[in-house]
Point group: C2
Chain length 393, copies 2
Amino acid sequence: MSEPTAGPTPEPPAEQKGDLRVEPSRVRYELLHVDAQTGARRGRLHTPHGTIETPVFMPVGTVGSVKAVGPDDLVAMNAQIILGNTYHLMLRPGEALVHAMGGLHRFVSWDRPMLTDSGGFQVFSLSGKRKIREEGAEFQSHLDGSRHLLTPERSIQIQESLGADIIMAFDECPPALSDRPYFEASLARTTRWLSRCVKAWGRQRSSLFGIVQGGLHPDLRQRHAEEICAFDLPGFALGGYSVGEEPLAMHEGVAQAAPLLPKDKPRYLMGVGTPLDLLTCVGSGIDMFDCVLPTRCARNGLLFTWNGKLPIKNARFARDETPLDPGCGCYTCRTFSRAYLRHLFMAKEILAMRLNTIHNLSFFLELMTRAREAIEQDRYGDFTRETLARLQA
Amino acid sequence: MSEPTAGPTPEPPAEQKGDLRVEPSRVRYELLHVDAQTGARRGRLHTPHGTIETPVFMPVGTVGSVKAVGPDDLVAMNAQIILGNTYHLMLRPGEALVHAMGGLHRFVSWDRPMLTDSGGFQVFSLSGKRKIREEGAEFQSHLDGSRHLLTPERSIQIQESLGADIIMAFDECPPALSDRPYFEASLARTTRWLSRCVKAWGRQRSSLFGIVQGGLHPDLRQRHAEEICAFDLPGFALGGYSVGEEPLAMHEGVAQAAPLLPKDKPRYLMGVGTPLDLLTCVGSGIDMFDCVLPTRCARNGLLFTWNGKLPIKNARFARDETPLDPGCGCYTCRTFSRAYLRHLFMAKEILAMRLNTIHNLSFFLELMTRAREAIEQDRYGDFTRETLARLQA
């Protein structure tokens, strides 16, 4: 696109100098600013499907659909990136089918960035129905009881077939109450598995992120972070949080672990969390989050607002003409009253699921938008305190 | 819009001469053209919430929501008018609540025309749980077993509280297999009930339509049509069809009954029907239809296309990259493949309900759009034959 010039070839634009030119498949993180009050980072993650402003919350699209909403709704609420779950998609409809249909982006009609998990977390949650060994994890499908073997190689192959922009390493998330010897053995195995993931990774379209485990053991986290971050990967994640521990313990753990990850790479805290969790962990330097909380709560009628959580089935909303959240600009709040939303929920109308989900996701996305603005203005600490007070979180 | 002229006061524009000026609450039908090949009528129904191009199909919004879609979806598919069900709304959330929230239009955020039924049809469907007497019908709620009395006066009062543009008379739809003496007694009572409805009707915002019953008895239909159409009402409906009889018998009955209704008023065939029913009965001079068929079939995965019905769960669509209906311009067909729609349906994703409903309703609405064009061009008979051959209906 550059104009032809006489004389020496001009410097290529900055955009072309980064990883994107050398390895067009790799996502690239650009750190824009660190908040003066906290460790919160304002950044950009460049991907083959566009640039993500961070910190970012990623809605979860388990089985190829963010439950109850369409891509039109997600675009309207300005979701920047959505997740897909490898475990669910490998079983139904199967990654070969998705690949034959042109990949996950095309299959679900989403042309913005996507991320898939490795399938490990779901498999290890099937306690009693799975068996871990060095090769990988054997498990039985929750759908039909059929037996499957998920290995680091197979997980990468599935994820590359799906074709997300970001794919995750196959790791074990050790049960929180495991003893120390189990933790040590598990972490060492996860490191060996990452080595196999990296070998299997084709680097063609999808960028592989490594995952640091270690539960709430600071020394194990540190050692594992060193092992995992020794791999030259485009991004790193913290796994094994929000698995039953107290929120304060989790916040402390993340505050210690986040700085162990490279400054020039995106930092992703997996499966987290509440608005309190998000704001706190952004302050510790986390860039990416995903959680089913807003979508699941929406389907159960628990709605997040700028004045706290609101159980829509409560009788006090029966004749409440006001919008769900007067401070929210989403389709649901622009269009309907609390009275109508309560009626739809009580009558079990399918539309209730969509409208509630649009609102809850919009709230989480707006929370991150405001966080980004606060970081840019070096007032992220104040913003967090004020917001948490409002949310009574 | 007319230019100012000197001399005598000019004739007011046609728009101001009709019922709309004398009684601004009344809907007014304008017959534009009768097809040269059939009895199909191209018309316009002017209502307080806008003008409806007829013939028209009206999506059914039972409990204050057209199941699985939002008003945004209905506007996008260009639905002109939707229905609400008095029986469902009187029980939940109750017409007093809807009235207090500004009426049904505002409650459900729909600013185009609406129609409510009288509640009679649903009450009389509760066999065993209802008792008919001269005063009205006693019934038990399907929700909590509570006892209610629905009378002509109460039905009109509820419907006026809801505030739809068009409200329906409280009638009995006699069971199709009733004997002749039962039919005769029922029709006479329905006529007496209409007289009470008319007395109760405030004529303020809602226009009352009368309903002609008589099953498949031509002489009873004729006599009842004479009784009902003796009332000076803004529109008339045929009830008691599509209640289990053979389609051909229904088509014959409608062909005989439709011409018994006034030419200068809209003719509404209640609860009908399939694409074959719609096209056939438009040819007999029907202007308005409603049916849960497209929405209910959508939720069960049966999709209407210009090449016939398509059961989306069929395995042959598992890897079908084509749109559901290449001849359809709806959001679903513009955006997704059959493979994805099948996947969503098999995985029981909520999004499947919305996407399928958007398509089926779009199909029914487009069928009526094409019917209107064919009438305007005096080729409605040819259009019906060609379309039915394509639909294999």
